[in-house]
């Protein structure tokens, strides 16, 4: 009985605070993306070869923790199968935040373009599967800066 009560409280807390944090985060991501969109980032592997640019590695990483509600829903989902939408939102936020941070670094270097952008996602919650998932998303790419600006 106590166990059940604790679980209910944790799930409720996870829902209210997790959802509030998530909505706030998504809103902030959308706002910053609108600004950062002027700095293009692309996956292409070949930079312009006209000698106008010099290159530098830029990266942005974010560590994001799951809340109890999402873990609980995902646990239930495990019984039936299907897409775990609770995690999809989480990972989407993490990837976009990582790119935003990478762009921020590039912007401070005066970059005009980031190419060869890649993502790495890793689980850093350890090997115990009972622990709540904590993930790190790392976005990195090559920033191109015009020589003349130097």
């Amino acid at each position: 009985m106590e166990q059940l009560l604790i679980t209910i409280v944790l799930v409720a807390l996870g829902y209210f605070f997790g959802r509030r944090a998530e909505n706030k985060h998504i809103k902030s991501i959308i706002e910053r993306e609108a600004v950062m969109n002027q700095l293009p980032a692309m996956a292409g592997r070949f930079p312009p070869q006209n000698g106008k640019y010099h290159q530098q590695l830029v990266s942005g990483s974010v560590v994001i923790a799951n809340d109890y509600f999402k873990t609980f829903v995902a646990g239930l989902r495990n019984l039936f199968g299907g897409k775990i939408t609770a995690y999809e939102t989480l990972l989407d936020r993490a990837r976009r935040e990582a790119v935003l941070r990478m762009k921020q670094e590039a912007q401070s270097l005066g970059a005009e373009l980031i190419f060869n952008v890649k993502y790495e996602t890793s689980n850093i919650s350890g090997q115990y599967n009972k622990r709540m998932p904590v993930i790190e998303v790392h976005a990195y790419g090559t920033a191109l800066m015009e020589y003349s600006t130097k």
Binding site: Y15, M42, F72, L79, A86, E88, L113
Partner: protein
């Protein structure tokens, strides 16, 4: 110059309120758990019913019953209970190997129960309230009826099957499937089982005394006790025992159906009965 397009929202994530998914999944899980426990409980109980009684006795012998009972301190009472039990076993046509053992418990608890291995536990608290032998025979007949229809082992089988299923689903390993308390805790019998045992008790009364007077008294004891404790009877939906009044009514219905006499001479309890029961007061 290259420009990143604005990516539309809602491709990699959904705007849908997660509570919707949560409630669907939760309801689905609860339904799954209920269905699985019903099916497994039913099959566990059915399979356990196939266990021969000799094997049941072996399971029961894993527990040291004698350490709990006070039969040794009250040999006269224990002997009397055992003789009644043997008489009732014969009246109920129990199979040869189904040996019933009565255990006297010197405690205030108003209860008596049957458990695996044909072990009957009768508490002093209940015996104090029993007015005559006929009522005592009803009580013992009811409990022996449980053993006759293999209710304790079926109930245990159901419990074990459900426990295994729950451990598998929840993935926890710390739950005790067959704990030490398994034998001495009152096993949960279904309402159907209680009714079957009630009927068996009435048959016993009729065949031993030629009438069923004194039988309903047993349920009146429980009814009064509940009133004394001022706890309302749980509504029938949630209770496994049929309501006391229903059981009393059921006795009359059975008597009419089988043409049994509802009146008759009541046999007294032996003289030493009260003495033995009250002996704890002198200590």
């Amino acid at each position: 110059m290259y420009h990143n397009p604005k990516i539309p929202e809602g491709i990699n994530s959904t705007k849908e309120n997660p509570l919707k998914e949560f409630s669907i999944l939760l309801l689905g899980t609860i339904a799954l758990v209920v269905i699985v426990s019903l099916i497994l409980g039913f099959s566990g109980s059915w399979l356990a019913g196939k266990i021969p009684f000799s094997a049941e006795v072996k399971i029961a012998s894993m527990y040291d019953i004698t350490q709990y009972t006070d039969s040794n301190e009250h040999p006269r009472l224990a002997q009397y209970l055992q003789s009644l039990v043997d008489k009732i076993s014969k009246a109920q046509n129990l199979p040869e190997e189904m040996k019933i053992t009565a255990h006297y418990m010197d405690s205030d608890t108003v209860n008596a129960f049957a458990t695996i291995g044909g072990n009957l536990f009768i508490y002093r608290g209940l015996l104090e309230k029993v007015p005559n032998e006929n009522t005592l025979v009803t009580l013992l007949g009811h409990e022996i009826g449980h053993v006759k229809y293999r209710h304790p082992i079926k109930s245990l089988g159901r419990g074990v099957a459900v426990a295994i299923a729950m451990t598998t689903i929840t993935g926890s390993t710390d739950s005790q499937i067959m704990g030490d308390a398994g034998l001495l805790t009152t096993l949960q019998f279904s309402r159907e089982m209680e009714k079957q045992a009630d009927e068996e008790a009435m048959y016993t009364l009729q065949s031993l005394y030629g009438h069923i007077n004194g039988g309903a008294e047993l349920f009146r004891i429980f009814q009064n006790m509940r009133q004394e404790m001022e706890t309302d009877e749980p509504s029938e939906l949630f209770s496994t025992h049929p309501l006391d009044q229903h059981r009393i009514d059921n006795i009359s219905i059975m008597a009419k159906k089988n043409n049994w006499k509802e009146t008759g001479n009541l046999s007294p309890l032996p003289d030493f009965f009260q003495e033995e029961i009250n002996s704890y007061l002198n200590q």
